[in-house]
Subunit: 550 residues, 2 copies
């Protein structure tokens, strides 16, 4: 990390930079496709000029790069992610590649040695079936690898955790400890064996130490590096806490902020504590801004927390639940809007989407002006409600990969009839709704290319189902690109500086081996950026491996 | 406030500025007095050159000011204050000038009308004796002025509060409400009359709404303006909360930060949340930095919370109490010091001072390097402990005006023998201890000139006692100036940029009508800056009244 920091600090400003001989693609501010072969960047890191093949090149640019015919596209904007969530995920020990208990023990031991300051060793991905162990692993198995620090490892399916003795001691687990409802403590010889199932995992989870500021700082830098390597140059951080924000500011203050973070405060408290009585200015050369607030109106489909108009098909007594009363939702929306904060409402079920739309409708008369209300996910929408998105000018902030991950589960939860308004990108677009696309990282990978592939094909990583799932809801390649660039910027009030490569905009772009407007969905899914530039600096070059820096 | 903000935003950078024809005074980095007649400031707002009468002036400065023989001294640094505490004090309604209930009612009504957004009207300073009322005022008296919003006003002595009906309703006060121990609810006709005495004040205090971010922002700007008008160009903020810090950052982000805030986090939690794993960089052109942490080891003398070695003279059973165990104090000091944060320990009683010194002694061996441990207040020190300050290189951060405010109370609390180490500036200095001077605003006024007068005379605003209280503890004028400039900067690791006017330092200075090295203590006490410059900008000119801006 020290090397990364040093490199970021050392990137110098250039006068004019010319990136020439590229297959350049951008949308203009009206969404029209523009092609170019050269890009001139000014000393402020902004696009100065797009060049056609016949245009004269600047005579003596300060820095010149030959694109050798490769494709150049605007930096991709993830319209919905959780930056610190990704960072903490990246800090965990990943055991999913281990093939035996002994291999896992060796990996755990190595990781503990490499991270002497970590008070707990936390990880995931073990699978005793894959190991051929014929039993659950035990605390003693873990003690053999790390006896002196707490170790806590989640099973590959997330439904069990494996603790060593130090972790159980820290959590005050004894032979007398009872599992909470919905959980089970595995026993061996009359005492807990070390494995905690489902709800019993909370017994250990609650004893984990809170992350220190240095953990937050490290997590942020790891997340930033991962995002940049995947071609994300800006990300809407949906639900920033004060701890998260301070980590972003520390990175900014130390000139380590490379990616652009468009922040939405985690509910009103964080919003007001962080930004005060209005959105913050753009900070650190447009690298950070708190623009709005994220509110949760319901849960998720998988856990049947999404709020539906009619009961779940696979749980007839349940419809999910709203997390806010009508008054609470409207009060929070008014509180934020009066201070000019943008409001982004998490709504997954059709009832939640209808209620979010109703609340926006109720308030729009008293809150004129361009609010750019956002509904996050908008996963299951009653087809009758789709026109309201357009009427109320609500932005649908959606995550294409969720469709491919969720489809079998969604079929079970909803039955065939309700799928008409599920992940209904094309229906929304046809109604006149603007689509902003994102990943919901770390719930899904932040990689935007499988998202683009899903958006245009409705097929998953295996190309399934053949022909696409409800293929009438696919969008064009241009719409997919728009959702990850121009509209993602518009959705965060950032279209005056981000999302396209028109003159005056920040020079955020990717160099790709192939053209995503021509490649097959399968080829798009496998694309990786060769280079990632932000504000006219090349922060990543694949040929240099994971190095971030010019 | 809008005008202030606009002016601060509009102050342009100058190339070379010449302030000429002044009676210029500064200490150099070794504490030697330097005199000059002209000051050249560069485009960065730093001192470029000090000019003697015979030195050649720059030929064409971008801006030139004729000092007309007036005195120029370094901007004064308050080594111990509470910025937001001052700001909130300035937002309160001040009734101390009212001479009748009717006058007070009119003032309350006017203030309420002028502040329509304030959910509660909060103030202080009423005195029914001065009004000749012959009784306590009542809730009905207040309702007549403001019926529709809560009003809560502290009596001049701070020992009673006066609420209207709306405030009592908000606090759920009924005829059945019982006063807590040490408090009394005034009754009239079998129900609370509106006046709450001593501990009963908490019944209403606890119902007050928390300040909103906009209140914090307004309070900060008011405090900043007040400090600049009083000649304070930098202030050590002793116990910054995350809310305070966010207000400072918002001011910085909006280019409204004029004063320099040297911040010490309010205990470890705020320190770590704000600054992370090391002190922040200098932010906003050296206007803000978190350098350390403030810890409280005991309380105050007035409330007998100060921790003494022997019992209070006027309360033989009491010695006060430490607020931290030996282990807690040392753990916090280690936690901060390991991450290179400076530690400032509040210690008022002689036992607290001895314990702070013992803790520093215990840790110094394991924490080498230049720590600049600070003891805040160091009010009552056992003379036997004074040499330890010097041995351990502890900075004594003291508030001269406390001596004049406290002397009669200190005599009662301590008896004559213990006064030998009370406010013992000269004894500490003679032992080789560096003295940083401050105000403890809002406990005292932030005005540094009465502080300088007290430091050199040990007399109060009335010149009492004649000849000074324990005059052997007076310091020289040069030491007083040093405590408010050079050593106050050193005490915050800021001597490389603040505290003197030597070339390369920030051009923070005051223009005064008279020379504080020559004027009488009484004249010094009444001094007010004619101009206050920070970083080469004139933020305040007395002839323009309260206007802040060039």
């Amino acid at each position: 990390m020290a090397a990364l920091a040093a490199l970021l600090l050392s990137t110098p400003a250039h006068a004019d930079t010319l990136v020439d001989n590229v297959n350049g693609i951008t949308l203009d501010k009206d969404g029209k496709l523009v092609r170019f072969t050269g890009l001139v960047i000014d000393s402020q890191g902004k696009v100065k000029q797009l060049l056609d093949r016949k245009d004269k090149r600047p005579e003596r640019p300060d820095f010149k790069e030959d694109g050798r015919g490769r494709t150049l596209i605007p930096g991709l904007i993830d319209a919905h992610g959780h930056v610190m969530g990704l960072g903490f995920q990246l800090m965990l020990l990943d055991l999913s590649g281990t093939n035996s208990l002994a291999e896992a023990q060796a990996a755990i031991k190595k990781y503990a040695a490499e991270n002497p300051e970590m008070p707990w060793i936390i990880g995931f991905g073990w699978n005793q079936e894959k190991w051929g162990l014929g039993r659950f692993p035990t605390a003693a198995d873990l003690d053999a690898a790390v006896p002196d620090r707490a170790v806590w490892l989640e099973r590959v399916d997330g439904h069990a955790g494996w603790a060593n003795t130090a972790a159980m001691t820290a959590a005050k687990i004894t032979a007398a400890t009872k599992a909470p409802e919905g959980g089970r403590i595995e026993m061996a010889g009359g005492k807990p064996s070390g494995v905690f199932v489902d709800a019993a995992m909370s017994l250990i989870d609650s004893a984990k130490p809170k992350p220190l500021a240095r953990d937050l700082d490290r997590a942020f830098l790891l997340a930033q590096q991962k995002l940049i390597e995947q071609g994300i140059t800006s990300i809407a951080d949906m639900g920033t806490s004060i701890q998260d924000w301070q980590a972003y500011r520390r990175a900014g203050d130390k000139k380590q902020l490379a990616i652009r973070v468009l922040s939405y405060g985690g509910d009103i408290d964080n919003m007001a504590l962080i930004a005060g009585s209005e959105p913050t200015p753009w900070l650190y050369d447009d690298k950070l801004r708190m623009v709005g607030v994220k509110l949760y109106l319901d849960g998720a489909l998988g856990s049947r927390g999404a709020w539906l108009k009619a009961p779940y098909s696979d749980a007839p007594g349940q419809k999910g639940l709203p997390l806010l009363t009508p008054a609470q939702l409207r009060n929070k929306m008014v509180r934020a809007s009066m201070d000019k904060f943008q409001v982004a409402i998490h709504a997954i079920g059709d009832a939640a989407n209808a209620e979010a739309l109703a609340a926006i409708d109720d308030l729009s008369r008293d809150l004129p002006g361009e609010r750019r209300w956002r509904i996050e996910h908008a996963q299951i929408v009653d087809p009758l409600d789709i026109p309201k998105f357009a009427e109320l000018k609500v932005i649908a902030s959606m995550q294409p990969v969720h469709q491919t991950s969720d489809r079998l589960m969604a079929e079970a939860r909803l039955g065939p009839d309700r799928l008409k308004g599920a992940y209904a990108w094309r229906s929304l677009e046809k109604a006149g709704v603007r689509l902003a696309f994102g990943s919901d990282v770390p719930v899904e990978s932040a990689n935007p290319f499988p998202g683009i592939a899903a958006a245009i094909s409705r097929t998953d990583a295996a190309g399934q189902p053949v022909g696409g799932w409800h293929p009438e809801e696919t969008v064009t390649r241009e719409t997919a690109l728009d959702g990850y660039t121009r509209t993602a910027a518009y959705a965060a009030f950032a279209e005056d500086r981000l999302g396209t490569l028109m003159p005056g905009m920040r020079a955020d772009f990717l160099i790709l081996a192939d053209d995503p407007l021509l490649a097959s969905p399968d080829a798009i899914r496998k694309m990786v950026p060769l280079e990632t530039w932000i504000g006219g600096y090349r922060y990543y070059r694949k040929s240099e491996g994971a190095t971030v820096g010019r």
